[in-house]
Amino acid sequence: MWGYPEPITRLIEQFMKLPGIGPKTAARLAFHVLSMPEPDVMQFAQALADVVHRLTECAICCNITEQSPCSICRDAARDDRVLCVVQDPKDVMAMERTHEFNGRYHVLHGAISPMEGIGPNDIRIRELVQRVGTTDIAEVILATNPNVEGEATAMYISRLLKPFPVTVTRIAHGLPVGADLEYADEVTLAKALEGRRQL
């Protein structure tokens, strides 16, 4: 039986390790690489190598960075007293795009999910508690996702932070800004109603 030459097979196998890529897509990508100009392929390979070699975790906030401490942790203009806890580096980007938050971050790298084998010790909770215990933080905002795992993680952290003199808050859920009430689904509306505040 005829098979692909060994280097192609190997490349296909590598692509298949990526999420959402099956054997057919992997083969298509591999053959596309074959048809690319050599400098492009080299750049691609270099980019892959760089994510591994040039990125580390920030020693303070655990976000991914080229240089530890990261640029946000080094920024003297930021408010040390407010700490926003997020699940992923992508969430830091999302928060930063708002230009509304001027505190510091802590990146957990995941949420507690026993079904996926992720316990409290597998994400950066220990680092967070240590940080809260050793620096002068007044408020910790828990901005984990509003799903079962994110809520469980938020609750776990809030329990751990009980002994410390910090205010622990949870981000609000509810109506998206600019949405009309009549188009909101029941569940979102109920959540928004739950989190109502006095004017």
Partner: protein, 373 residues
């Protein structure tokens, strides 16, 4: 609600068939295995986008064909709509007035049916899981937020159970799931109990009609845990906060049992519906015929429930149920339904319709995938 016209293309044993219904009673008559149930299945599909018989949509595609289409013209609260469901091997699409609906949940709920099929006897004879599914299906159709809480509850339960399967259980982690489990669990319990309270009156009345008032039916929502120390003696199932507090307490109380079992032993995933007839538990004391009548009463109670919730009566689909009731009960049933409802019935015999005038019902003959009026 009414269905005025139904068209089947390559659906089950139908190649291309259009049927026009009348407002009152419509009867499909034919021998076994001719396609009577398939026609009801199609109407069910048109209403909820799913078959009542199979979870695999492609099963409904006629052998050798790539695509099945069910379409129909319906009247809902005096306005007309055309509905259409297309099934292929790869998936399905639903249309309202020619517009494709992005999600099936956007489609369902418009046109409602209540279907009673012989397998509904399992509501009485089968396990608690079947009775819970009955409640979940009903509440899901009328209250989308119920499905939100149920989904969250099930997800949280799965996470918690995984923790309980560890050789050394990490109770700190279990505790953070308990809070959510109690939060969503209380919502599930209270909504179910409320639903059962509503259904109770309706089912009792229907049962009284079918049985000529000889017996009194009672239906109650039963919490899973009934040990003396956690017995919720005075727990009011209409107070979400109380139920939540009780659930949290019960979860804590059952820690050791849960760890030993490797899963959560208390909560709405273990609750049940309890039926009694003249104060006797039904699964022990009721006869076959009585059990059938109870299952039927429960289904027919849905009609009143949907009417109370939406202000409109659903279309009633009865799949071969008359043959299971005695003459007396058959007649009571046929008489009670012709008043307010559009009903579509399959039968192998016309005997139960004796005494009904011809203009009161429309008869369709079904023979090897062809329906003639």
């Amino acid at each position: 609600m009414k269905i005025r016209e139904l068209t089947l293309e390559n659906f089950r044993n139908y190649e291309d068939q259009t049927v026009e219904f009348q407002d009152g009673v419509n009867v499909f008559i034919g021998d076994n295995a001719q396609g009577k149930t398939n026609a009801l299945e199609a109407i069910h599909m048109l209403a909820v986008g799913k078959s009542h018989r199979t979870a695999r949509d492609p099963d409904c595609i006629r052998a050798g064909q790539l695509r099945a289409v069910v379409s129909g013209a319906v009247t809902v609260r005096n306005s007309q709509a055309s509905l259409r469901v297309e099934l292929t091997q790869g998936g399905k699409r639903a249309f309202v007035n020619g517009l494709s609906q992005a999600k099936l949940s956007d489609y369902v709920g418009r046109f409602q049916v209540v279907l009673f099929a012989p397998e509904d006897l399992q509501l009485i004879k089968g396990g608690p899981a079947q009775r819970r599914r009955f409640i979940d299906m009903e509440l899901g159709q009328t209250h989308p937020s119920y499905l939100y809480h149920l989904g969250k509850y099930q997800r949280t339960l799965a996470q918690r159970n995984r923790l309980l399967k560890q050789p050394r259980v990490d109770w700190d982690s279990v505790a953070v799931f308990d809070a959510q489990l109690a939060l969503h669990g209380a919502q599930v319990v209270c909504r179910r109990a409320q639903f059962v309270r509503q259904m109770r009156g309706y089912a009792r009345e229907v049962y009284r009609q079918i049985s000529d008032g000889r017996e009194t039916l009672d239906v109650t929502y039963q919490l899973s845990l009934r040990t003396p120390d956690t017995e919720p003696a005075s727990l009011d199932l209409s107070r979400v906060d109380d139920v939540r507090a009780w659930l949290e307490e019960a979860l804590d109380h059952r820690k050791d049992a849960d760890a030993a079992a490797g899963h959560t032993t208390v909560g709405p995933h273990r609750d049940d519906l309890a039926f009694t007839l003249a104060d006797q538990p039904v699964h022990v004391f009721a006869s076959q015929g009585q059990q059938r009548s109870i299952a039927l009463s429960l289904r027919l109670a849905e009609i009143d429930f949907i009417h109370a919730e939406t202000g409109d009566y659903p279309v009633l689909l009865l799949d071969d149920v008359l043959s299971e009731l005695d003459d007396h009960r058959q007649r009571n049933l046929v008489m009670s339904m012709k008043e307010k409802l559009q009903t579509i019935i399959t039968t192998t015999s016309l005997a139960p319709f004796h005494g009904m005038l011809h203009r009161e019902m429309r008869l369709f003959h079904v023979h090897s995938g062809i329906i003639t009026g």
